[in-house]
């Protein structure tokens, strides 16, 4: 199923409405936003941090900021979902760096293993919502990249490694790493054009 930009607009309207209500102090709106977005937020934090307690803290932190910044949230700045996951990503990566212990040295597989243990497979099966289909689309798009591009992108996004660190880790020249990431991201963009980060459509 192809998801059109026009449909995302409705989702944005729902989000904007919730943020407006939250800005007026309606905590029920925070509850609703949490219901819509806590899964992708938590899943991302868990993947980056590799343990549930840290991921919970990040999740709470992110939604607390949503509440704090709701009065100044600028809809023009971008879609709420992107803003939310971007914030999640920053906080999670920051936490990893503060720990001074990269999950890669614990190994990305260990983090994924922890995730699989925690993952509720029933929910996986039930993930047939619009977002579920989108998620599958993203996974497929990432898997379709040459493995070297995929690896570099995952090390950057989930591992919090810089270009330099990735080059050092893989033993490849810096220019090669940068080019791989750019080419990979370009292909992802054209594969996912028109999609946006969205909450659960309950």
């Amino acid at each position: 199923m192809v998801h059109k930009v026009g449909e995302t607009a409705n989702v944005d309207v729902v989000d904007e409405d919730l943020i407006e209500r939250l800005a007026r102090g309606e905590l029920a709106a925070l509850d609703a936003l949490y219901t819509r977005y806590s899964r992708p937020v938590f899943s991302l934090a868990l993947r980056v941090l590799g343990n549930s307690n840290d991921a919970e803290e990040v999740t709470q932190d992110v939604f607390e900021r949503v509440w704090r910044h709701a009065p100044t949230f600028d809809a023009e700045r971008g879609r709420f979902g992107t803003w939310l996951l971007s914030m999640t990503h920053h906080i999670a990566i920051d936490t990893v760096r503060k720990r001074q212990r990269r999950p890669q040295t614990v190994s990305g597989e260990a983090a994924e293993h922890a995730t699989r243990v925690l993952a509720d497979t029933r929910e996986d099966v039930a993930e047939s919502t619009l977002r579920g289909m989108q998620a599958e689309q993203v996974r497929r798009a990432l898997r379709s990249l040459p493995s070297s591009q995929q690896e570099a992108i995952e090390l950057a996004y989930f591992g919090g490694l810089s270009h330099l660190e990735i080059a050092a880790k893989l033993g490849d020249p810096l220019g090669t790493v940068k080019a791989r990431i750019r080419r990979g991201m370009d292909r992802l963009r054209s594969a996912l054009e028109g999609f946006g980060v969205e909450g659960d459509i309950a």
Binding site: G25, L27, L30, D31, Y34, S38, R39, P40, V41, F42, S43, L44, L46, R47, S52, A55, E56, T59, Q60, F63, W67, G78, G81, T82, L85, S86, T88, H89, I93, T115, A119, D120, E123, E127, R131, Q134, A135, V138, R139, L142, I153, E154, A156, Y157, F158, G160, L161, S162, H163, L164, K178, I181, M185, D186, L188, R189, L192, F195, G196, V197
Partner: protein, 264 residues
């Protein structure tokens, strides 16, 4: 240092992924703050980048995560509200405003805390009441078990068994006395005694020609009921055992209403 648009474009993916060196990141941020087209480009790259979050295996956070969040936010919102209100009170001196805030906050807090306290106290009382009645029930059951265990040991150790036969209004009833010669301890097990009308009770007696000794009273709930007997003298010093129907308070002399009778 000012950056050209092509340089920004080169750094967009790295920026969105968070893979730039700190210096590069700062330069991108400075540039897009002043360049709307580049800002739009970065935004769109970020839209794609953060869809990568969906590559992570989907896991729902545990319920406590939401509880903690909502609790914290609700508490802070509660604390903030009076502060915001005080900002509109322009005419007041600083001191008065501070005092007002403190007053409103302490008033609101104490009201809320008092309400919480009374709720908690109510719940505590209720639980304590339940606990007390459970403890009583437990004590009763423990006592019953202990008694049954004692009765069982008396029955098992008994060296003689004497039968009682139904009579009068309880012709279908029967009973057995488990006793040991020389001992002041026995158990009477009754079967099929009819239910008593209100205000009446069964009473056990042991007797010999010159004496009618009243023993325990009982009101059976089951068709078979063990009744402990503790006569003042050994069981084998009496000639007869019988059960009569008496007024609920019991009697010193047996009525004529005998329902069970046997020889010892």
């Amino acid at each position: 240092m000012e950056m050209h648009a092509e340089h920004i474009e080169e750094l967009a993916e790295g920026y969105a992924l968070g893979a730039l060196e700190p210096g590069e990141r700062v330069r991108v941020e400075q540039h897009i703050a002043a360049c709307p087209p580049c800002k739009r480009h970065i935004d769109s790259v970020e839209d794609t980048t953060h869809m990568l979050a969906f590559v992570a295996t989907p896991v729902a956070p545990p319920p406590r995560c939401k509880l903690k969040l909502m609790e914290k936010v609700a508490r802070e919102q509660f604390l903030q509200t009076p502060t915001r209100r005080s900002r509109t009170v322009n005419a007041m001196s600083m001191w008065a405003a501070v005092a007002t805030v403190a007053f409103i906050m302490s008033g609101a807090w104490s009201m809320r805390l008092q309400q919480q306290l009374s709720e908690v106290t109510g719940a505590q009382n209720q639980i304590q009441g339940q606990l007390a009645s459970l403890q009583t029930e437990r004590a009763t059951m423990t006592a019953q078990i202990a008694q049954l265990t004692t009765l069982e040991s008396v029955v098992v150790a008994a060296e003689a068994v004497r039968s009682l036969h139904g009579a009068g209004s309880a012709a279908n009833a029967s009973a057995k006395t488990y006793m040991t010669p020389g001992k002041n301890e026995a158990v009477l097990i009754v079967h099929n005694l009819p239910q008593l009308p209100p205000g009446k009770i069964y009473q056990v007696w042991v007797a010999r020609p010159e004496l009618q000794q009243p023993l325990t009273m009982f009101n059976p709930v089951d068709t078979t009921e063990p009744v402990p007997l503790q006569p003042p003298e050994p069981m084998d010093s009496y000639n007869w055992i019988m059960v009569t129907i008496e007024d609920a308070a019991g009697a010193q002399q047996p009525s004529k209403d005998t329902v069970l009778f046997g020889e010892l």
